[in-house]
């Protein structure tokens, strides 16, 4: 690369971020056209770290089918679109996953009047899925493993998938658990549908960058880690100014009171301070978009900090 992504971003003055075409809680435009969600907050964190202003993001809505080519071709600098980290994607598509901002697993949504209690009873069911996702492959594996038959009904967007499910075109809608909760609130009568207990796969969702630009890869990786570290240290957007004068050396290093941490990434020393100040720590992002205070109402579960029995763990910033 003649010109690194960071230089290009600084020159343009904004980060081009690939998001979904609309998935509540992760990336969704409100009726005024402002984007919000957990994935969107990651884009904002990267913009805050690199440009010092979280609002300097250009959102590019992408379907599942287009997302990798958009990243490969340089149309976006960063893909933050609940994308599952897999070997194939890391290996043959020329991509790098920069971390995991949501630990997810695939599940099933059924309508209650089917009377199904477990995924093992789904032999012969018609299943609605979204095209171009790992979901399709996991579904095939699961049904093959238990010797069951199914009919895949494939749709292009999550909107259409919900519509197909609601019309009764299929018995089951399968997707990542987090999405199932998001999609359920789009039904005209959410109480009529329920999420089955089985989780049939591991879906670590995270931001993706192009291979071949390690500096940019590091920036995205550590922007996420900074948000997680901030939560660990109890730094939030409300108290971040006060915490600057904290006596804890870890907090000092994070917020750039001690010089030199930003230089390694090619950023200002206030990079992490800007993230926490303008976007918030990981816990705040989670609560605001998908957690208990949001319409989705998802438990922290696996996405709690490692200190609280979850999986979110950031390498030390030093």
């Amino acid at each position: 690369m003649a010109d690194g992504t960071l230089d290009a971003v600084k020159k343009k003055g904004f980060v081009q971020c690939g998001v979904s075409t609309g998935l509540p809680g992760f990336s969704n435009p409100d009726d005024k056209g402002n984007w919000m969600g957990l994935d969107v907050d990651l884009c904002r964190a990267v913009a805050a770290a690199t440009l010092g202003d979280a609002s300097k993001v250009k959102y590019i809505p992408l379907t599942a089918k287009e997302r990798f080519t958009a990243l490969q071709s340089g149309e976006i600098d960063l893909l933050s679109r609940n994308t599952t980290w897999t070997l194939t994607r890391d290996g043959s598509l020329g991509l790098n996953f920069a971390g995991v901002n949501y630990y997810d697993g695939q599940g099933f949504l059924v309508s209650k009047d089917l009377g199904v209690k477990s995924a093992k009873e789904l032999d012969g069911a018609a299943v609605c899925i979204q095209a171009g996702t790992t979901t399709e492959l996991n579904l095939a594996d699961y049904f093959r493993e238990f010797g069951m038959k199914y009919q895949p009904v494939v749709f292009d967007t999550s909107d259409q998938t919900v519509k197909g499910f609601e019309a009764g075109r299929c018995d089951v809608l399968t997707s990542d658990q987090s999405q199932l909760y998001a999609l359920r609130i789009q039904l005209s009568n959410p109480d009529k549908a329920m999420v089955l207990p089985e989780v049939i796969s591991k879906e670590p969702l995270g931001p993706v960058v192009r291979q071949g630009d390690d500096q940019w890869f590091n920036i995205v990786k550590w922007s996420l880690f900074a948000a997680i570290t901030a939560e660990e240290l109890g730094v939030s957007s409300d108290n971040v100014d006060k915490m600057k004068s904290s006596t804890n050396p870890n907090v000092q290093r994070l917020l750039g009171a001690e010089a030199g941490q930003g230089k390694n990434l090619g950023l200002d020393d206030t990079w992490a301070f800007n993230i926490v100040k303008q976007v918030g720590n990981y816990g705040e992002m989670f609560e605001r978009n998908v957690g208990k205070s949001s319409p989705l109402g998802i438990e922290r579960g696996l996405n709690a900090l490692w200190t609280k029995g979850g999986l979110q763990y950031a390498p030390p910033i030093r």
Binding site: M1, A64, K65, F68, T69, Q72, S73, T88, R89, S92, L93, G94, L114, L122, D123, G124, A125, A126, A131, G132, T133, E136, L137, L139, A140, D141, F143, R144, Y150, Q151, P152, V153, V154, F155, D156, Q160, K163, G164, A167, G168, R169, D171, R210, Q211, G212
Partner: protein, 395 residues
């Protein structure tokens, strides 16, 4: 030219004014430009893929696909290769195109003739049909038939049914499927023989008419032979076939023949849309026949049916065939919109799911385009040959 070039050598033309030289020069320029353009593109694509570590080549076609497909005319499951998904998609495209062409032709002919009807109401109705469906985007019509109409269908447990053997619900149309046993080959053979006999009869009748001038009605005997002969053979062979009826088990009907709603919606939309264009083709074809031809046929005392069959339609065919071929090709190309409602055609399966799972966009798009290109060009070639055969011999 001489006047402009006063004082210069008038004996020979300037080299850049010599048409032959010019033509060579222009062509070299054109070839150079095209070659340079392609080199530039290919070079860019290769460097870009190199840089981004994208795999290239057709090796992926041998890998295991690992995803299911809703409808397949050949045996397919998750363990087959990506190459197989290409053929599954291709056959689904061919299926919807062939059915669409047949249905759209029938409907289009009716509406085209309806437009020419002397009955004012019928012709206005046909005109309304044409103007309505011709001017609304096909994609919208597909969505309409799929989402708006489909939602009105009942769930599998409250299906509409005809006599416990045909069921229609939101999951599709369930028909009894024939299951062939040993000895069914004889019945198939009998059908072939029956068709052979009919062709022979027609030829004999034509010859007799030329010699004696008497006509002999052939339609009913033909139908009789076509239905009767296979039936006799069928019973002689001991009924080597039974029907497999769809049965409601668990969530859905099992057994029999299933026609998925995606196929139904796509087929209705393609038929309704293309029929509007075919109707116009038929109308202009028939209107192109001079009135004198009809009058002459009447003067010879031909009946209405004979007039259409022997005078009007054979001549109208010449005008109708080329635009009709175009419509058939359009229908085939339009069937690629299947991807919008998830009917597993070539574009939706191969250029959609397979592209996604492998990420090899260039190879896959190239293969998909090549298929449509092959269909289009071979059809055009066939039509040109046919046209040259039936063209009027100018004397």
């Amino acid at each position: 030219m001489d006047i402009q070039n006063k004082g210069q050598d008038k004996a020979k033309t300037k080299i850049w004014n010599d048409p032959a030289v010019r033509s060579v020069f222009f062509q070299v320029l054109a070839v150079g430009a095209v070659v340079a353009f392609f080199l530039y593109i290919i070079n860019n694509a290769l460097t870009n893929m190199e840089q981004r570590g994208i795999t290239t080549g057709f090796a992926f076609l041998g890998d295991q696909a690992g995803f299911g497909i809703l409808q397949s005319l050949i045996e397919y499951d998750e363990t087959h290769s990506f190459g197989r998904t290409f053929f599954v998609g291709l056959l689904n495209t061919v299926l919807v195109a062939v059915l669409g062409i047949i249905l759209a032709t029938i409907l289009g002919f009716f509406i085209g003739i309806g437009r020419l009807s002397h009955n004012w109401l019928i012709s206005k109705l046909a005109t309304t049909y044409i103007e309505t469906f011709r001017n609304i985007p096909l994609l919208l019509q597909i969505f309409f038939w799929y989402f708006a109409v489909l939602q009105g269908l009942p769930s599998p447990r409250n299906s509409m049914s005809i006599g416990e053997s045909v069921f229609f619900n939101i999951r599709g149309l369930y028909l009894p499927g024939p299951v062939y046993e040993d000895g069914f080959g004889a019945v198939a053979f009998a059908i072939v023989v029956a068709i052979g006999i009919i062709i022979g009869l027609v030829r004999f009748e034509r010859k007799r008419q030329r010699e004696t001038g008497k006509t002999f009605p052939l339609f009913l005997p033909s139908v009789g032979i076509l239905c009767g002969l296979p039936l006799i053979v069928y019973f002689l062979a001991g009924s080597p076939m039974h029907w497999d009826y769809p049965v409601l088990t668990g969530f859905n009907f099992k057994g029999g023949l299933t026609i998925i709603p995606e196929l139904i919606a796509l087929l209705i939309a393609l038929t309704v849309y293309t029929a509007a264009f075919i109707a116009e083709v038929v109308r202009s074809g028939i209107e192109a026949i001079p009135r004198g031809q009809s009058e002459a046929a009447n003067a010879l005392g031909l009946s209405n049916g004979q007039r259409l069959r022997l005078v009007i339609i054979p001549q109208a065919m010449r005008v109708i065939i080329p635009p009709m071929t175009n419509q058939y090709l359009n229908l085939t190309k339009n069937s690629s919109l299947a991807t919008a409602i998830g009917y597993p055609d070539l574009v939706s399966v191969f250029m959609g799911t397979t592209l996604n799972q492998t990420g090899q966009a260039i190879e896959i798009i190239f293969m998909t385009m090549a298929v449509y290109l092959f269909l289009s060009l071979s059809t055009s070639a066939l039509m040109n040959w046919y046209n040259s055969r039936i063209a009027l011999v100018e004397r």
